[in-house]
């Protein structure tokens, strides 16, 4: 289906892609090809799950994401999946954080994922979740550096599933 503002979307901020791309041409990701669908190789209850997030959530004390750079920050942070939420903080400017400031799970559902693991819905959580910021104005550089680096980390970790959440 071709991208279109006439889709039956009820999104709260319609036309977001067009608005941003008109203002900053080339800054928004647009792909022509579909990624081949990778199949689940085992039941969810046996899968090791990694959570990826553009939320800018990071462990307190880790190098803060550079939210002031005009082009963005193309690095990632590892967030231990057993982190207490009190040990985490957000460094990201481009989305409303008023909900996350009161309950981080609205954008980084680390406690819900641990519950699903404890109940056996999923097999395990990867030792690290991976976070970065969504404000990166060079999609090609994202693909060449950040996306590749995170993908290599996931392969090295031997994860079975990646839950990839924008913010």
């Amino acid at each position: 289906m071709a991208p279109s503002d006439s889709s039956p979307s009820k999104q709260l901020r319609p036309g977001l892609w067009q608005v941003v791309n008109d203002r900053y041409p080339g800054s928004m990701i647009t792909k022509e090809d579909l990624v081949p669908l990778a199949a689940l190789k085992k039941p969810l209850s046996e899968c090791r799950v990694a959570f990826l997030s553009t939320s800018g959530v990071q462990p307190k004390g880790s190098l803060r994401f550079d939210t002031a750079h005009p082009v963005g920050d193309f690095t990632f942070r590892r967030v231990p999946s057993e982190s207490p939420v009190e040990d985490l903080e957000i460094h990201q400017l481009k989305y409303p954080t008023f909900g996350a400031e009161r309950d981080l799970n609205v954008i980084f559902p680390i406690e819900r994922l641990r519950e699903l693991r404890d109940e056996g819905v999923i097999g395990a959580l990867n030792k690290s979740f991976y976070t970065f910021i969504g404000y990166n104005m060079d999609p090609e550089r994202v693909e060449r550096t950040l996306a590749r680096d995170v993908a290599e980390a996931l392969v090295e970790d031997q994860v079975d599933i990646a839950l990839a959440a924008p913010a």
């Binding site: 279109s4 979307s9 699903l116």
Partner: protein, 89 residues
Amino acid sequence: MGIPSVSPSVARDVTEHAKPPRAVFLPFMMGHHFGVPFHKQLQRRVLMEMLAELESATESGSIRDLDLSWAQARREGKEIEARLASAGG
């Protein structure tokens, strides 16, 4: 080949352009892809819908619309917070 992945989206048009292999769409506010504070059931539901999509999607680029409303999520969230405040007080 590859690692199966799935994404939540609150911006359907952005997702249509980026073409992740699997996505679920929620008409929620940016920064609130899993709902509202302290609404554990809703946060869990979004995750469960994502996991279900991993099992059920048959075509890359699919976006499944979830039957959720932001107004209802906020209303339920306020009720939960009122109960929490009452229990705490």
